[in-house]
């Protein structure tokens, strides 16, 4: 394949793959916020520090506790679209992995329900009166739930590309990969999730920066920079580990001419984020310009990593076997309906934001 992935495939396959990857990247952005955010809250709750204002009450943790339930809702909602398109693109692989993981996979739903309610509990005022150990337990449990869901998705992905070993997995129940393989993949996503979280949090804190004093803004900015730069550093390490330990076929796919452009773009994205955070660290506050650079870099990294992930999977699977199903799906009507409603629903979503924005400027109603 000489063209960048997925342009070398027939049009229906390239089209559905692109849709899947774009919606998956959107889901990832929200999920990164939730995963890294819950881990951060678990840390600040367990180790509040000895400053006059505990870490748990500082702007980052407070913002996270306030917004995590909504962001989880956004992540689940955004996750429905890639869940739909993966059933078109890799139906047999995805369904088989689901079935082979069985109860381990079905646990994802109740675990997410528990995590959702724990997030609301973390946000509530009830928790403030609880002993430190109980609060820590709730926060750690919440983060553990999301890490477990991440593990399930990673296992699902790895299983979906191991077709030769499906019968053996069915009989024995043993997953055909080592914990190291799972950890290497999870390491990449978890470390990048801190960078994504920092990029989104930057805008949330920037919006209210003028209301806060310099002794709050400065540490918050530096904390965000540490979070992002630490995440990006770990991402580089995890990425190198993955490359060095990957199977030959996977490594070949990684440096294939179809995948290489995405690797380069993700490196550029990382560099932009590093530059943006370094500058904001120096200024001791968040700036619109450098937050934009960080966000652009974060989006590039997320998109490029998502494309690279699928390019590697496509390199391992027998893709021509899937082309006919994609071609059949492309013949089914309804795309125009989808496009029309995309415009209408986007307008309605914009209307919601405008309504709130305008509404907050006027006097609240009499109770």
């Amino acid at each position: 394949m000489n063209l960048p992935f997925p342009l070398g495939f027939p049009a229906p396959t390239a089209f559905y793959l692109t849709l899947y990857i774009l919606t998956f990247a959107l889901h990832q952005a929200f999920m990164h916020y939730v995963l890294a955010g819950s881990l951060y809250v678990a840390w600040t709750t367990s180790f509040p520090g000895r400053d006059s204002v505990s870490r748990n009450d500082q702007p980052i943790a407070a913002t996270l506790r306030d917004w995590l339930p909504f962001l989880l809702s956004a992540a689940i909602t955004a996750g429905v679209a890639p869940l739909l398109f993966i059933q078109i693109v890799y139906q047999k692989q995805f369904y088989t992995a689901n079935l082979l993981l069985w109860w381990r996979w079905m646990l994802v739903v109740p675990i997410l329900i528990i995590a959702f309610y724990l997030l609301y509990l973390l946000k509530s005022k009830i928790m403030a009166h609880w002993p430190h150990i109980a609060r820590s337990l709730v926060a750690i449990s919440t983060a553990a739930c999301f890490v477990f869901v991440g593990f399930c998705w990673t296992a699902n992905h790895l299983l979906s590309v191991s077709e030769a070993r499906w019968p053996e997995v069915y009989v024995t129940g043993q997953l055909p990969f080592t914990p190291f393989e799972v950890l290497a993949r999870m390491g990449i996503w978890i470390s990048d999730s801190f960078a994504t979280l920092a990029a989104i949090l930057a805008w949330q804190l920037y919006r209210r920066q003028s209301d806060r004093s310099a002794d709050i803004v400065g540490p918050a900015t530096r904390n965000l920079a540490v979070m992002a730069l630490g995440g990006l550093g770990l991402l580089t390490l995890a990425g190198l580990t993955y490359i060095l330990t990957a199977a030959d076929k996977t490594r070949d796919s990684l440096f294939d001419s179809g995948t290489l452009p995405y690797l380069i773009i993700s490196v550029v994205g990382v560099a932009m984020q590093v530059a943006g955070w370094f500058q904001q660290w120096r200024f001791g506050r968040l700036t619109g310009l450098w937050s934009t650079v960080v966000s652009t870099g974060s989006v590039l990294t997320l998109l490029a990593m998502s494309f690279a992930r699928e390019a590697i999977r496509a390199g391992v699977l027998d893709m021509p076997q899937l082309f006919q199903r994609h071609a059949d799906a492309a013949k089914v009507g309804g795309f125009t309906v989808f496009l029309i409603f995309t415009v209408l629903v986007s307008a309605a979503i914009a209307w919601c934001f405008v309504t709130v924005h305008r509404g907050l400027k006027v006097q609240p109603p009499v109770a």
Binding site: F70, S73, A74, I76, T77, A78, G79, V80, A81, L83, L84, F85, Q87, I88, Q91, K92, Y95, T96, N98, L99, L100, W102, W105, M106, V108, V109, L112, I113, F116, Y117, Y120, W166, P167, Y170, V171, R325, D328, A329, V332, G333, G334, V337, F338, F341, T342, V345, A348, I349, W351, C352, F353, T355, V356, R358, G359, L360, V362, P364, P365, A367
Partner: protein, 473 residues
């Protein structure tokens, strides 16, 4: 022939029940969310126009319940349905996704709008004007009802694909014969659930007195009035159902008739109490009564969904896919090449089987029976065949679609059928370590004859009528 997916064993619970449990909970919550949107718009309007001074307080409290229950449990059980459907029948959900993925994607757009407008209201309504709040609530209500509108078309297609079978065009499948009665029925159910849940919420409000609660309850009860058209909508739905499906729910299948009666009985009880007590006499009901009515509504929903799922038998998508994920057009070929030929998965606990014939029977059971039957648990084959002798078992399975017309035809070779019979007999005999293989060629020849007599077409539930008419002639 379609790909074979691995099959999981749920012990004494048949997989269909797992699907039904998740689906019923989700449908209940999702319809509550749809009705909640309509109810909140109405109450917001009452508050804005001064018709009920306590309406604003109710709207704020009710929306919290909606967010905590519907946005969490409703959204995640929706994902859970997909996961469960993949576990139970990957080909069915695959077929629905393949044929309607753009409508499903459109539904996702409305789901996103529902979440955005809902959270905007939840987070900011206390700081917004009445008009701004109303805008958000109307957007929320429209988005949630549109989700119902779109999903309803895909679900009703399974039972009544209508002209889609010839044309394969999207709108023929979507606007199928049961689309409108099903949509209207579900909308009324949604309003009923929202209204009954509101009665519970009103009881839990601590900031208003009994008189205010009564006035709110009388208002929310107005959403129960459309229940008067439910019998008509139910009859409309029955009228557009395929004749064989209608015959199952009207007595052909005792279980389905029983569930239909539970649904009708619960709905009648709620409707009568609601209309006579809440609407006409303007009574106040306490938490226990409101909770009981809501529980009855859950029973009615469960019964209705069970009937809707069950009445599709022997299909999961009518004329497209049998419940056991075998396509009608593949049966003839599978009678020749066998149903286990392309199954790459060995049996779990392979060593417990006493010989290859029983082992083959285990694979046939897994492929053709296990989605609706267990071996010894719910709807267990050892119980169902307990009174049959071996030859009768062979005959009844060979002519399965005529034995019970809501069963699909047997799709395998005579050797596979005999293996299944031996597997059932071995399981009934409490799985002894030694079991004799049956290699008698006369048995295989007899099975072959019965299979040929049965044909490969689905069963005809009007065979009795035909026989009677032939006798009269």
């Amino acid at each position: 022939m379609l790909d074979v997916f691995p099959v999981n064993d749920y012990g004494p619970i048949m997989p269909g029940l797992v699907m039904a449990a998740v689906a019923i909970v989700h449908v209940f919550l999702a319809q509550f969310a749809v009705g909640g949107g309509i109810l909140l718009c109405y109450l917001q309007w009452l508050g804005m126009t001064g018709r009920n001074p306590h309406a604003r307080q109710f709207v704020a409290g009710y929306f919290k319940v909606l967010v905590l229950i519907s946005f969490v449990l409703g959204a995640l059980t929706g994902v859970g349905i997909w996961f469960t459907a993949i576990q139970v029948s990957p080909h069915t959900i695959g077929s629905m996704v393949q044929n309607f993925h753009w409508l499903w994607a459109t539904e996702w757009l409305f789901f996103s709008l529902e979440i955005v407008s809902g959270y905007c209201f939840y987070r900011y309504h206390s700081r917004l004007s009445d008009n701004a709040s109303m805008v958000l609530l109307v957007i929320y209500a429209v988005a949630s009802w549109m989700s119902l509108y779109l999903i309803n078309g895909i679900l009703s297609w399974q039972l009544t694909p209508g002209r889609w079978l010839e044309t394969h065009t999207l709108f023929d499948g979507f606007y199928n014969p049961s689309f409108w009665p099903s949509l209207l029925f579900r909308t009324v159910v949604a309003m009923t659930l929202a209204s009954l849940a509101a009665c519970v919420v009103i009881n839990l409000m601590t900031s208003v007195d009994r008189e205010a609660k009564t006035s709110l309850m009388n208002r929310v009860a107005e959403l129960l009035i459309p229940m008067v058209i439910m019998p008509g909508l139910g009859l409309w739905f029955l009228a557009v159902m395929p004749a064989d499906s209608r015959s199952w729910v009207l007595g052909g299948s005792p279980a389905m008739m029983l569930f239909l009666n539970i649904s009708i009985g619960s709905s009648l009880a709620i409707g009568a109490y609601a209309l006579l007590g809440l609407v006409l006499q303007r009574l106040f009901i306490n938490t226990a009564t409101a909770g009981l009515l809501l529980l009855l509504a859950f029973g009615a929903t469960a019964g209705g969904e069970f009937v809707r799922e069950g009445s599709r038998k022997p299909y999961s998508v009518r004329h497209v896919l049998y419940s056991n994920s075998i396509r009608p057009q593949d049966v003839a070929q599978m009678r020749v090449v066998g149903c286990t030929a392309n199954d790459p998965y060995p049996l779990r606990n392979d060593s417990i089987y006493p010989n290859d014939q029983v082992r083959l029977g285990g694979k046939v059971f897994r492929r053709q029976c296990s989605v609706c039957h267990t071996v010894e648990g719910t709807n267990g084959v050892t119980e169902l065949t307990g009174a049959w002798d071996t030859n009768q078992c062979r005959l009844n399975i060979a002519k399965l679609q005529h034995t019970k017309p809501f069963m699909p035809p047997f799709a395998g070779t005579p050797q596979e059928l005999e293996a299944l019979v031996q597997f059932i007999n071995w399981s009934s005999a409490e799985r002894p370590e030694a079991w004799r293989e049956n290699t008698d060629p006369t048995d295989f020849a007899q099975i072959k004859t019965w299979l040929e007599e049965a044909g490969t077409a689905p069963g005809d539930f009007k065979q009795n009528n035909k026989r009677r008419q032939e006798l009269i002639r």
